[in-house]
């Protein structure tokens, strides 16, 4: 019995077990916009006082932004300003920002949230209108240019929004909200196209 249980545990921990991220591969297309679930990424929630920012920036290999509603990007890694002492760091290059922060002695809190979030890409000339179907922020290029990032809401769900280019956004939401958020964006895409 114990042997069988041990075997089972080993199998569950084995990397050969398929990981099935929420909504993997889902996408929808409407005139002028494509809504698509993005592949898994490494993510951390980072909290740190002013005095630790330089050391953390050095370890992460990018300058943590200090200006509200901005982000910084380098080598597949993006740091989004969420609050005066709070950042969301996303790594799409397969490197682990949590391990990089672990080398920093300065006071900080880094929590791995890679699997907590799902990312959805909204891209095309109608992307802005699609997100504005449920997000009350001013997303005009003057108010929310490429590189702008903000925690905000979409319908009833909280999201983190990053404008990756003039007509493309990355929407991050909690895994348990992802079905709602994806469906909402799909409806928004249809409205924006119509």
């Amino acid at each position: 019995m114990a042997k069988a249980a041990a075997k089972k545990t080993a199998a569950a921990a084995s990397p050969s077990v398929d990981r099935r991220p929420a909504l993997a591969g889902r996408s929808t297309t409407a005139t002028g916009v494509k809504v698509e679930v993005l592949p898994p990424a490494e993510r951390i929630s980072l909290r740190a006082p002013e005095a630790s920012v330089a050391a953390l920036s050095k370890a992460l290999g990018l300058t943590l932004p200090k200006k509200p509603k901005t982000s910084a990007s380098k080598g597949g890694r993006t740091a989004l300003w969420l609050g005066p002492d709070e950042w969301l760091v996303i790594d799409e290059g397969g490197n682990d920002p949590l391990a990089d922060c672990a080398t920093v002695a300065a006071l900080h809190s880094a929590v791995g949230i890679s699997h907590r979030n799902i990312a959805i890409s909204v891209a095309g000339p109608a992307a802005e209108a699609t997100i504005n179907a449920g997000c009350p922020q001013d997303l005009s290029l003057d108010a929310f240019p490429a590189g702008a990032a903000s925690r905000t809401i979409l319908g009833k769900a909280e999201i983190v929004l990053l404008r990756t280019s003039d007509d493309a956004f990355r929407v991050e939401c909690w895994r348990s909200f992802s079905d709602y958020v994806f469906t909402f964006l799909s409806e928004g895409a249809r409205d924006a196209a119509g």
């Binding site: 509200p68 509603k69 969420l82 709070e86 922020q137 925690r151 909280e158």
Partner: protein, 98 residues
Amino acid sequence: MLLIRCPYCEEERPELEFRNAGEAHIARSTDIAGESDDDFEKFFFIRSNPKGIIYERWRHMHGCARFFNAVRDTVTDKFVMTYKAGEPKPAKLPGVAK
């Protein structure tokens, strides 16, 4: 939609991102166990509930997530000004005759 200026985000943002968090500038006693029942009742339950200017705590819940203070008119629902948590009650309010 009502727009509220967040002093941490340094811009006006839609009201849906915010939550009210009750009256501001209510200091908890440093010796809460030594408070009389009457004083505790005043601190804990009694609020000014004015008709007109009120000082409130608000939280930019779905934004930077920080608490801050706001001066609001309960008659017009207009925000007079906002300022960071920990800052003193503003001595002068812009555009308010007193």
